[in-house]
């Protein structure tokens, strides 16, 4: 059946490691789990984490991938790797040897990125697996507790998942405690007599961590409910750095696997299918942004212009936003023929707004950045807790309106968690909109 044995994997792994070391990469050791198709679906559903807590949405994700795969709309990923130490990566039993070689080289790139990019400074790769494990255990305990049960657990998790991306996005920056902010404000007041902030306000400054804020300040949640919110927040914190660096991370991993494989002197029967697969992974997709392609081509450009040493620094200090701001230029946008488009109500059609020519490329680049990772998710923050314990939330409107039907549902989830009045202010078609 398969064209490989474990000895083959070991053989190529050793070679890959040698080349990667020569390139100056620095990565966590990798544990490869060899799994079958079904297990791969399972691993994907739980975003690779072997110890993730259970929730029906992961069952849905499983069915979704399964369906798409059966309909031929998606292939299974060649790589799935967890930001842990050692990194855990999956190899699918059914894949051919050349795919495994590509996957292993690719995983070295990811692991190197996890270990070096500063967005990941606060992730805790040594303990992440255990931390997820204890969360999973806690969730299971609640489900099995006859006084709580699965319906109640789902009630909280459903609501918490609705705001799971409403957490701070400035990975790498430490967040100040209330006391620290208070001290700063007082310092400012001594320097400037006219500065009179309201020091009893809660929160003192806009709070972007909705999950944590509600867990800590709601007057109606039971202890286990608060704990569930914090579990979801923990898991979000794990994923935020990855969401902030999707383009770079994939681009870097592709760059690395391409470099490594070209050094391996693969025999033709492995090299030719590899080239084909590589081209498939990094090809542009019409009307879409393929992060593999975007990241790979940008890193290629950087290496061409500044050498590998420049690329090594880039993989360390940037996130997707700064990466694109710094390195995307007119020539690149024009070469890749990026354009922006939107649905026009009056025409009942999607039309092109801007194209990457001299006049338009900056606008298209800005929209591209708007469409990257977490920028696709609206920001909602806690403005203040008013009298009667009303939770006042503000949507940071950046020109894009919320989808109201979705926002209404999320609003209901927040209400359920908060337990008292909630207000959410946004803008819709240039008018103030209050939920």
């Amino acid at each position: 059946m398969s064209d490989w044995t474990e000895a083959d994997l070991v053989h190529w792994d050793e070679k890959i490691i040698r080349v990667a070391e020569d390139l100056g990469l620095d990565w966590h050791p990798i544990d490869y789990e060899i799994i079958d198709y079904q297990e791969m679906l399972g691993a994907m559903a739980y975003v690779g984490l072997p110890t993730h807590y259970r929730h029906w949405s992961y069952g849905k994700e499983y069915e979704r991938t399964h369906t798409l795969y059966n309909m031929g709309q998606t292939g299974l990923p060649y790589e799935m790797i967890i930001n842990s130490n050692p990194s855990i990566a999956y190899l699918m039993q059914e894949n051919a040897l050349y795919i495994h070689i590509l996957t292993m080289a690719h995983c070295v790139g990811h692991s190197d990125f996890f270990k070096n990019n500063r967005m990941f400074d606060e992730t805790n790769p040594d303990n992440i697996i255990d931390s997820f494990k204890s969360s999973a255990k806690y969730v299971r305990k609640l489900i099995e507790d006859p006084s709580i049960g699965i319906d109640n657990v789902e009630r909280i998790l459903d609501a918490a998942h609705a705001i799971k991306y409403q957490v701070p996005r400035s990975a790498g920056l430490t967040h100040k405690s209330r006391d620290e902010i208070l001290a700063m404000e007082k310092l400012k007041m001594t320097q400037d007599q006219t500065y009179t902030p309201n020091l009893s306000k809660v929160p003192l400054q806009p709070e972007y961590n909705l999950l944590k804020f509600i867990a800590e300040h709601s007057k109606h949640l039971a202890e286990w409910e608060r704990n569930l919110l914090l579990i979801v927040e923990e898991s979000s914190k794990y994923f935020i750095p990855q969401a902030l660096t999707k383009v770079m991370n994939e681009g870097w991993a592709c760059t690395i696997h391409y470099k490594i494989i070209n050094e391996l002197n693969l025999p033709d029967h492995l090299h030719l299918p590899f080239i084909k697969l590589h081209n498939q992974v990094v090809r542009p997709q019409l009307g879409q942004i393929n992060p593999y392609h975007l990241g790979f081509t940008l890193f290629e450009k950087i290496i061409e212009e500044g050498g590998m040493s420049e690329a090594m620094i880039v993989r360390e200090v940037h996130n997707d936003i700064s990466f694109l701001r710094f390195y995307v230029d007119e020539e690149f946008m024009e070469d890749q023929n990026y354009f922006s488009y939107s649905f026009k109500k009056d025409k009942k059609a999607i039309t092109i707004d801007d194209i990457s020519d001299n006049d338009g490329w900056e606008a298209v680049r800005d929209e591209m950045i708007n469409n990257i990772g977490l920028n696709r998710i609206p920001i909602v923050f806690v403005d203040e807790v008013e009298k009667n314990n009303t939770l006042s939330l503000i949507h940071e409107h950046d020109g894009r309106d919320l989808d109201l039907s979705y926002a209404t549902k999320v609003f209901e989830h927040i209400q359920a968690l908060w337990g008292d009045e909630v207000r959410l202010i946004s803008m819709v078609e240039n008018e103030i909109w209050e939920f």
Binding site: V10, Y46, G59, I350, P378, V410
Partner: protein, 412 residues
């Protein structure tokens, strides 16, 4: 060197979450089934045919941007020529979901699952909570099922039915007695073998599950006033009813009667292939039913259920007579249902949602047609209504399920 290992776990870790998701999907199926039960593609199908019904996926809500002008999408054009203002599609395209690690997707859009189910499963979902009311024990019983039940022990029997426990108990008892009597000393290490007399066998007895006999009368108006739409609704109603009975009760007799100015007993096939003609005399069908009951289905022996469906446009001189016959049928039936197809009802239902099917008295206090047809059969039947006589009005396909619930949903 990296570590390679075969995955240890053989359990499907997603199983319980998939099961939970499936439960939610099933609920969604149940919710949308009510919209599809009167669908053309279902009516008239036999049980083997699979039906595809679209079920809205279970959504997970997040804050997302709406699909409007200010929310632009960016994509690469490859080798294609792109121009500002160029029309490239009708509706917002779904963005492909990223693969691999770090998914922070906010894809929205309605997800539909095409769920394929058989008529049997459909019936299962639909009729789970419904039943024929007041099924009484009558003299005449059907043998519908034979099961085998253990009942006590016997000293004779076949080897497979040997009761090891009872046998051992008897042997121990015998052994103890022997010890007391001094005929057997366990210290000597001698075996104390089983004896033929120790053997005890399970006794089994066939048990017959008995169901009361029931006969269901389907009476349908096939007069000329039954327009295409009305016919369709009536047919759907009976089709659903038939599925319900088939699903729930193994042994029921169904008598099909269609009528215009006179009634005839027809086969199942003919009943569902309705052609329409002539005027309407409801009493003809009711008389025929009573005839058949007298000859074949004595009320002492049979549970009788009667369901009439028509457009209510009876010849006015026949209304009194029909009323009397309905009374008579009611007196010998477990349940009599009168379903009237009336497209005016749609409007009413829309405007007075709370008044839909209030305990089988959905007479609208509304509109001109009330006064004009005060003397119609529908209003004449009102005094008959109680737990044994129910009337329902069907104005559109959505009402069929409501009608069903009010007939079989336990009083409501």
């Amino acid at each position: 060197m990296s570590v390679f290992r075969k995955h240890k776990s053989i359990v499907d870790r997603a199983a319980s979450d998939r099961g939970r998701h499936k439960k939610k999907i099933e609920k969604a199926i149940k919710d949308s089934i009510r919209d599809v039960i009167a669908d053309e593609s279902i009516i008239g199908q036999n049980g083997t045919k699979k039906i595809r019904i679209p079920v809205r996926g279970i959504k997970e809500y997040r804050f997302v941007y709406g699909s409007n002008e200010k929310n632009k999408t960016v994509g690469s054009g490859g080798g294609h020529k792109v121009k500002r203002g160029q029309k490239i599609g009708q509706k917002r395209t779904e963005k492909a979901k990223g693969q691999g690690t770090g998914k922070a997707s906010n894809e929205r859009g309605d997800e539909y699952y095409d769920v394929e189910i058989s008529l049997e499963e459909l019936a299962e979902y639909l009729f789970n909570d419904l039943q024929l009311p007041d099924l009484e024990k009558k003299q005449f019983k059907f043998v519908s099922q034979e099961t085998i039940k253990r009942k006590g022990y016997r000293f004779k029997g076949i080897r497979p039915r040997l009761s090891k426990k009872e046998t051992l108990k008897r042997k121990i008892r015998r052994q103890k007695i022997a010890e007391k009597l001094g005929t057997y000393d366990p210290e000597e290490g001698e075996r104390f073998p089983f004896h033929q007399d120790d053997m005890k066998y399970h006794h089994i007895k066939p048990k017959v599950k008995e169901n009361s006999a029931a006969v269901i009368f389907f009476l349908m108006d096939v007069s000329g006033s039954m327009s295409q739409d009305r016919k369709y609704l009536a047919r759907s109603f009976f089709f659903l009813l038939y599925q319900f009975l088939n699903h729930k009760y193994e042994q029921v007799d169904v008598v099909f009667i269609s009528h215009s100015t006179h009634a005839s007993r027809v086969s199942e096939d003919d009943f569902f292939k309705v052609g329409t003609y002539g005027g309407t005399i409801i009493s003809s069908a009711l008389n025929l039913e009573l005839d058949i009951i007298e000859k074949e289905y004595h009320p002492n022996t049979w549970n009788i259920y009667s369901f009439y469906c028509g457009d209510g446009e009876n010849w006015s001189h026949d209304n009194e007579k029909s009323l009397d016959l309905f009374k008579k049928i009611k007196s010998i039936s477990q349940l009599t249902g009168y379903a009237e197809i009336n497209e005016h009802y749609s409007n009413f239902a829309d405007e007075h949602e709370e008044a839909v099917m209030p305990d089988g008295y959905p007479w609208p206090s509304f509109s001109a047609w009330k006064n004009e047809e005060l003397e119609n059969l529908w209003s004449k039947l009102t005094p008959l209504c109680d737990s044994k006589f129910k009337k329902v009005m069907i104005g559109q396909t959505a009402h069929i399920w409501q009608a069903f619930n009010s007939l079989f949903g336990g009083g409501k």
